[in-house]
């Protein structure tokens, strides 16, 4: 059986260590594996390592699976692992290096051919979450260049598929790895096609060009449902939120209309304004009317099923009256004028969401304008704090600590804190909680701290969480697919119904 999958974005390289971007990582997982892996629900499961354990505060031991063969016939050894961990953060010219995942690692040691010990610089509870990001390549190929991967020369891995052909921007063809150690895929040959246009992707499914497509746009859902196809959705995971320029006294795009004396010159600095904005958003309507139910309203940075998310924080209910009241309390009873910015080519229905929210704010006495632009123009400007309110998402994250550390913790890029805290919100209490959690190895304590931090944070609304987006995957009726939380679309996950 052959399988043809239409992917929503194309990859920049086949080199598994080249860049930290989702499409690349997803595709690489057909050919390469890590020591341990996330299952579709983000649980850690054995992969090339059969078991792992912490042997000291800073040392983790991994036992390698015996008799795993690379596709060139050689056997996996601990040396391969060492080389892979060395190469991953050091690929030259990488635009977004995997070094992110190895920063706490001091050393990777091959104790014996089937045992690897990873030593961290400081106690790192998150190490097992990092290890799955580093895919293992054969030690001989440590100097392979990007070109060698694209041509297939260096596409030597242990994964369920072996490389056949690659046309950049178009397709990648692979065959089943007959020597695969685990469950062999149902497919003899798989073609991954890169079709970035969502309508075209659906057309490919409808016309039979593709058997399975990822990321079906909500707008097209009806059509797919109407046909002879099955559609499945990943758990809502990708958080989408509104960034707020709260860190300074003047902000370019929010002005108060005759504010009361003593009101903040930057209305966003007032917690009540931020809450009002949040109450003014009808998250349910967005989910139903614009997203066809593919989103879940969000009240914090992570879906409550994930580690560290607080069960006590729920998405604020739409309440225009309360919003107006809060605005008045804050000293802006005549309302505000503001411009809400967003991208138009990045997130699903991004420009529609921006407009819809602006509409809703108009109903609570705010004169809101909406403006969208291409990501390439938009994104750098968000970093330069050129907007006051802007729609943004922070990739798929599996754990609350990382999420808060990136978005809410005080901006301190030197120490990798608050890297994406573009609004420059600062709250020492949250900083403290998040920081300690990173040094706490006990998961229960850690979870409690993070839940506390999240509750604190989203009472304050440093950013306005909107919704969690879930990817939809559509396929022919005879294929079953379980979507993954990390939103990788993997051919090995597709099964043929008997």
């Amino acid at each position: 059986e052959d399988l043809s999958i239409a992917l929503g974005s194309s990859i920049t390289s086949l080199d598994p260590h080249f860049a930290n971007n989702s499409p690349n990582k997803a595709v690489a997982r057909h050919f390469f594996e890590a020591l341990i892996a996330f299952d579709p629900d983000t649980n850690l499961v054995p992969a090339l390592a059969t078991s792992w354990k912490r042997i000291s505060d800073t040392e983790w031991e991994f036992k390698l699976r015996p008799d795993v063969k690379f596709s060139d016939g050689s056997t996996l050894t601990a040396d391969d692992v060492v080389v892979s961990f060395e190469r991953a953060p050091a690929v030259p010219n990488s635009p977004s290096s995997l070094g992110l995942f190895t920063r706490s690692i001091a050393q990777v040691k091959a104790v014996d051919p089937s045992t690897v010990v990873i030593e961290t610089k400081y106690p790192d509870p998150l190490l097992p979450h990092m290890v799955p990001e580093i895919l293992i390549i054969p030690a001989e190929l440590k100097d392979a260049e990007t070109g060698d991967y694209n041509s297939g020369k260096s596409m030597v891995g242990t994964g369920p598929f072996v490389f056949q052909a690659y046309t950049p921007g178009d397709r990648l063809i692979m065959k089943r790895n007959e020597n695969y150690w685990g469950d062999k895929p149902d497919w003899d040959k798989v073609t991954l096609r890169f079709i970035t246009n969502e309508a075209t992707r659906v057309a490919a499914l409808l016309s039979g060009d593709a058997d399975l497509i990822e990321n079906v746009s909500p707008n097209l859902m009806d059509r797919v449902k109407g046909g002879n196809f099955s559609i499945v959705q990943s758990p809502p995971a990708l958080p989408v939120y509104i960034g707020l320029d709260v860190g300074r006294d003047e902000t370019p795009f929010v002005k108060a209309k005759s504010p009361d004396a003593g009101a903040n010159t930057n209305p966003l600095r007032d917690k009540r304004v931020r809450q009002a904005l949040s109450y003014g958003i009808d998250r349910e309507a967005i989910s139903e009317k614009l997203m066809q139910g593919t989103t879940a309203p969000a009240g914090q940075m992570l879906n409550s099923s994930l580690f560290g998310a607080s069960p006590n924080v729920t998405a604020p209910k739409y309440d225009p009256e309360k919003a107006k009241q809060l605005l008045a309390e804050a000293g802006y009873k005549n309302g505000l004028t503001l411009t809400f910015h967003g991208p138009n080519d990045r997130l699903t229905n991004d420009s529609r969401v921006v407009q819809a929210i602006a509409q809703m704010w108009n109903r609570i006495g705010i004169e809101a304008k909406a403006e969208v632009m291409p990501w390439s123009v938009y994104f750098p400007q968000t970093g330069k704090r050129e907007f006051s309110l802007y729609l943004i998402s922070s990739g798929a994250i599996s754990e609350m600590g990382t999420a808060l550390n990136s978005v809410v913790v005080t901006h301190d890029p030197k120490n990798r804190r608050g890297v994406n805290n573009r609004g420059r919100y600062s709250n020492p209490e949250i900083d403290e909680l998040v920081n300690t959690s990173f040094q706490t190895l006990d998961d229960d304590k850690r979870r409690a701290m993070l839940e506390k931090a999240s509750e604190l944070a989203f009472e304050e609304m440093p950013v306005i969480p909107l919704y969690f987006y879930s990817f939809s995957i559509a396929s022919k009726k005879n294929i079953v697919y379980k979507p993954r939380m990390d939103q990788f679309t993997l051919a090995q996950g597709a099964k043929l119904t008997k």
Partner: protein, 324 residues
Amino acid sequence: MNSQPLARLVQAFLVMLAMTVIVFIGIHLIGNPVDILISPEADQMERDRMMSTFGMDKPLWTQYGIFLMNALQGDLGTSFVYNLPAIDVVLSRLPATLELALVALLLAVVIGIPLGLYCGLRPDSPVSRFIMAFSILGFSLPGFWMGLILIMVFAVELGWLPSTGRGDTVEFLGVQWSFLTWNGLSHMLLPAINLAMFKLSMVLRLTRAGVTETLSTDYIKFARARGLSPQRIVGVHVLKNIMIPLVTIIGMEFGSTVAFAIVTETVFAWPGIGKLIIDSINVLDRPVIVAYLMIVVSLFVLLNFLVDLTYYALDPRARRGGRA
């Protein structure tokens, strides 16, 4: 005639130079590619490292100077995104676009010229009125909209043709081509029609205008006065004369066909340079943008040269005129 190609080359060179300057300034104004490419979780060190890897830490003019030095040695830089020589990235996508544009142009010519001839010879028949009305549509319909309709009708509703992507390819002269296989051709049909529509209407109209004009000339009347058959008059006398403006226009339009392939490639997920350039603009992959423009301009120069050659072959006045 001798100085002509040389002048062209110099001109093309200047165009390229001007273009690179524009691209450098333009991208500098839009933003820093590092900001887009870098992982959101990256820290300052990582950012600094990338800035220096891409050479973005130097002043713009220094960057441009370095680019020029390398370009003179044939190195247009390494793609920020693909980590491959930019020129390779572009060249690897070029055949797909070229063959699409060629097939589109071929369709335009093969369909457009006979229809145009017919309309020119029988200007008052209902059929040619219909054809002319149709050509206005071909002129007017925005490409992306027509592409969608084509997909809807032929791929989705009727299921006759595949909707997207490039079909099977066969290697020929070291390059992968898809027009050599049936599957490849069937994939190419819809995008090619989409891309051809505008050119087809143009060729049709040009042909008709040319025929109308040629038919009214004295030499056609003289040919009739000599008792030549209508077949010979149309097939040789008229056709040879209208070929001259047609070849010029078609040659020049090939460039814009390549450019407009951007839209068609987006709609039909055709893996050509059009899609590449859009993607590259989106992530500000400057080396690829520069390489793309260089290659496109070279293509233009080459095409103009070819058009000139055909021109010399077709038009005796040009041929000897230069020498006299």
